[in-house]
């Protein structure tokens, strides 16, 4: 049983330049064997949350359970060395004065594993992370990616039920990051360890996670599967953080059984509306660039627009299309679909994929 339950977790720090971000009343249910990502911009409190789970930071209020075991509550906080978790640090923290073997075997020595068995376990774990043959090397003889894998092996060899990872890929170059991403995911499936992973990279979170907890300003904004968080963002903060999005201000014209007509700029859209909206409400419509299609002006779109800028990105072409109201839409299309700057195009929107939020200056609460 290695589920993790956070209840009302709160921590505030004295103000200061390098003070960690505060966390307020955070509730989170992490199930056994899951890969869960804490996602948010830097300073949102995600690392603080992770360090409270690890025990490096003592919460001001709230509780942490692992399974049914209470490991942290006000007045009784279990120190990190008794929590039996593993952790991989952003800078790897591979001890520079120990060889690869000595680094990995450290946790087993603490657990007083007989040396023969320890040797076997280290060998197996090093094989798991593709580092067989590197036992006698010192960290300064290893590349960043290899150090990263030593850090992983060091955490995995003690077979923790929970592995905490603090932006472990952020110091690697793009290609290596992608490769390690695949390895991490595979590792998690194979070992069945609960992974709690902190990152500010939404693409990484989408690719790796079973569930994503989007954190902003020390508060949990949304907790859901990558698909839910991406396509049904709970609020404008989440929509904005999860990839590119056009936020178009508009007004509800008409509401009927959970659906409604919204006029946003020049666009008239039939959208699914959450309950509580009424005609006349000011809203913002979140439209992702890939859910907009451009067509020749005589095609069947919801509005006409003029191409004001284009960028060829290889796998997609990106256009800035200006509606007659002046609203600019960012659009991503298949690279072979070519328009020139100045062309007039028809804009077509996949309304089913749009989200509606209360407008920034809504007069209703």
């Amino acid at each position: 049983m290695a589920s993790i339950t956070l209840k009302g977790l709160t921590k505030s720090f004295a103000a200061g330049d390098d003070a960690p971000a505060a966390v307020s009343a955070l509730d989170l249910d992490i199930k056994d064997n899951e890969f869960v990502t804490l996602l948010g911009p830097s300073g949102c409190g995600k690392t603080t949350t992770l360090r409270m789970i690890a025990g490096y930071i003592v919460p001001d209020a709230g509780t942490i359970h692992v399974g049914n075991r209470l490991i942290s509550s006000p007045g009784s906080v279990m120190p990190p060395d008794q929590r039996g978790m593993g952790m991989v640090f952003q800078n790897y923290a591979v001890w520079p004065h120990k060889t690869v073997y000595e680094n990995v075997v450290f946790g087993l020595k603490i657990r007083k594993t007989p040396s023969k068995e320890a040797r076997k376990k280290v060998d197996e774990t090093l094989a798991l992370v593709n580092l067989t043959g590197f036992e006698a090397r010192y960290p300064n003889e290893l590349s960043g990616g290899q150090q990263q894998r030593v850090a992983l092996a060091r955490s995995l060899v003690v077979e923790p039920e929970i592995l905490l990872l603090d932006e472990p890929l952020s110091n690697l170059d793009a290609k290596l990051r992608e490769q390690m991403r695949v390895e991490l995911k595979r590792l998690q499936r194979r070992t069945g360890i609960t992974f709690v992973y902190v990152t500010h990279d939404q693409a990484e979170a989408l690719a790796l996670s079973d569930h994503i907890a989007v954190i902003h300003g020390g508060k949990l904004q949304q907790y859901g599967t990558p698909f839910e968080v991406y396509s049904r963002p709970a609020n404008r903060l989440v929509a904005d953080f999860m990839g590119l999005v056009n936020l178009v201000p508009g007004k509800v014209l008409d509401v009927r059984d959970g659906a409604g007509k919204v006029e946003a700029s020049d666009l008239k859209l039939d959208l699914a509306l959450p309950s509580g909206f009424a005609a006349g409400d000011k809203v913002e419509v979140a439209i992702r660039p890939e859910n907009i299609r451009l067509d020749k002006p005589q095609g069947n779109g919801v509005a006409l627009a003029k191409i004001s800028d284009r960028t060829f990105l290889g796998n997609v072409s990106e256009y800035y299309a200006t509606l007659s109201s002046g609203q600019v839409l960012r659009v991503q299309t298949h690279p072979l679909q070519m328009f020139a700057v100045g062309d007039t195009v028809a804009v077509e929107i996949d309304a089913a994929q749009c989200s509606v939020f209360r407008g920034a200056h809504s007069d209703q609460g």
């Binding site: 960690p20 990190p80 952790m87 001890w95 520079p96 004065h97 946790g107 603490i110 003690v158």
Partner: protein, 577 residues
């Protein structure tokens, strides 16, 4: 064919390149000065040690290594160095750990204690402790024995423990500074990684933190050792009455009439060998410091909560502050204002001692003026020479520039008294007129402290991107213009700190001056020592206070003018007076 063409088309430039230019003269001058200041005196020391009655001989070395007097001095020096190193390690490390890793209150107090202990002239501390703990007249001993009747608690300062105590007060800051900076810069995640794997705090401290900071701590301990054995002042003031003769005091005795130059040279070289070996080990340890990485954001180690025990640690810090700072300073101040030092000193407070040394006694007047002049001159010359040598090392491509850099660091391995022996050997042979003049003192000071000037310049130059100078040159600036407009203004703060780093030890220099002074070229430290030797207890204290005031004023002026953190810059230098 093409080569000819090139030569014909650009002859002017080629000719201009090969001509001697101003920078060549400046560089040549600096190299020459370094040879005269350091290399030649050292060579004549070598020569002097092997010059027998009929040509080359090792008779001096034989005598130095077998004679009872010399072997005893060698042994005493090593014992003193070892104990001092050990206690510097214990005190320095404990205080460093408290400041960098715990929630002990009053951290500023500990930092102040370390900085002031480091800056206080050790021979003045020694004198102050004699006033308190000399077996018969020491004030605290008198109180314990005659007033309280607790004679078993009295402490005889004229002993090895006394000598170690007084020396440690000056040397523990070496360990403290290196250890606290190492402890602060260990990335916290190294320790956190061990903790999450189940290692207790103690286990983490021993298997992770200790190996990471050990090189810095060992290096600080060796610096303490090297500095401890080089201090002539405290070893003469405390060692000699206690019949503990050490290498510096033995070498000093060899200059009693008739002077034994050969023996002094040989003993000096043995002394240098010990120092050099220790400094070599120190550098080797420090080179392994690559383990300690600079901490990134949020990677500061978490402070350990000591609970009520933090008041115990605080108490230890207060005791250290009292013993290292309050006792010596308060004693010297009290003595300087008293008519006669003793149990009832407070009954007759007076300014007469200050009047005597400042207005009535021409020897002390002369000493103050001499020392001020010498310190200003030595600091300026050392920094200017240092700037040129540093520039040659960092910027030029002259072959052998590394050798120059090493030559400039040699004096770090030379105890002050050895510098004096070498200078006497060299200048007596080549220009005896210099003997016992202010000039030879200046040569000694510049030679001794040139490494500080070079290091200050070197460190500043390395922080300046060469492209800043190159962009001035591409605009047509000459070397002199580039130096004046770009380089010197940029390294000025560093040079200023370097100037102060030389000024402070020179104003209190005793180890070399004691062999080189004459009645006309007497210096402050020598005057204090001589007055002390002749028993002028109260004026000595007044002069000591004047000495400390000058040091304090220099530091104050320097920090005001933008020199900045002097004590942190000086943490790895081997000063000693």
């Amino acid at each position: 064919m093409t080569a000819e063409l090139v030569v014909q088309s650009v002859p002017k430039i080629l000719r201009r390149r090969s001509r001697l230019r101003l920078e060549h003269f400046v560089m040549g001058g600096a190299i020459l000065s370094l040879i005269v200041l350091v290399v030649l005196p050292l060579l004549s020391l070598l020569l002097g040690s092997v010059k027998g009655e009929g040509g080359l001989s090792f008779q001096h070395f034989e005598e130095v290594l077998s004679g009872r007097l010399y072997v005893q001095a060698l042994k005493n020096s090593l014992v003193l160095g070892a104990w001092t190193g050990l206690f510097s390690l214990i005190i320095g490390l404990a205080l460093a750990w408290a400041v960098s890793r715990t929630d002990v209150p009053g951290k500023v107090l500990i930092q102040v204690t370390a900085s002031l202990s480091y800056l206080s002239p050790p021979f003045l501390t020694a004198i102050a402790f004699v006033y308190l703990f000399s077996p018969n007249a020491g004030l605290i001993n008198v109180v314990l024995r005659d007033v309280l009747g607790l004679s078993f608690l009295t402490f005889n300062v004229f002993s090895m423990p006394g000598l170690v105590l007084v020396t440690v007060l000056h040397t523990f800051p070496f360990v403290y500074l290196l250890a606290s900076s190492a402890l602060l810069s260990v990335d916290a995640s190294y320790e956190e990684a061990a903790q999450i794997l189940g290692a207790s705090k103690l286990r983490t401290a021993f298997s992770i933190t200790a190996p990471l900071v050990a090189p810095a701590i060992l290096s600080g301990t060796l610096l303490s050792f090297v500095n401890a054995i080089a201090l002539f002042g405290s070893q003469a003031i405390i060692g000699l009455p206690g019949r503990i003769v050490t290498l510096p005091t033995r070498i000093y005795a060899l200059f009693d009439y008739p002077p034994e130059y050969g023996l002094a040279s040989a003993l000096s070289l043995v002394f240098v060998l010990i120092t050099v070996v220790a400094l070599y080990l120190q550098r080797a340890f420090l080179a392994r410091r690559s383990f300690v990485t600079l901490a990134g954001k949020g990677a500061r180690p978490q402070l350990m909560s000591l609970g009520p025990a933090r008041w115990v640690v605080f108490g230890i810090a207060v005791v250290a502050f009292i013993v290292a700072i309050i006792l010596p300073y308060a004693t010297l101040i009290a003595v300087s204002f008293s008519k006669s030092w003793g149990l009832d000193f407070w009954k007759g407070l007076t300014l007469a001692n200050y009047k005597f040394i400042l207005f009535d006694y021409n020897v002390t007047q002369r000493a103050i003026v001499n020392s001020l002049g010498l310190a200003i001159a030595a600091a300026s010359v050392a920094v200017l020479l240092g700037a040129v040598i540093g520039w040659i090392d960092v910027r030029s491509r002259i072959p052998g520039r590394k050798l120059l850099d090493y030559a400039a660091l040699i004096p770090l391995g030379l105890p002050g008294i050895v510098v004096a022996v070498a200078l006497i050997q060299f200048w007596l042979a080549w220009a005896p007129v210099l003997y016992a003049t202010l000039a030879i003192l200046l040569l000694a000071y510049v030679g001794r402290y040139i490494p500080l000037g070079v290091r200050a310049a070197n460190a500043s130059l390395r922080q300046i991107d060469p492209s800043l100078e190159e962009s001035a040159q591409i605009l047509g600036a000459s070397w002199l213009q580039t130096m004046r407009e770009i380089t010197l203004p940029l390294i000025r703060p560093g040079l200023f700190a370097g100037w102060l780093l030389v000024f402070v030890p020179v104003i209190q220099e005793l180890s070399a001056s004691i062999l080189l002074f004459s009645s006309s070229s007497i210096t402050l430290a020598v005057a204090i020592y001589n007055l002390y030797e002749t028993g002028y207890i109260e004026p000595v204290a007044a002069l000591a206070i004047i000495n400390m005031l000058i040091i304090g004023a220099a530091i104050f002026v320097a920090t005001k003018l933008g020199g900045g953190a002097i004590t942190s810059r000086s943490n790895t230098q081997g000063l000693g007076s």
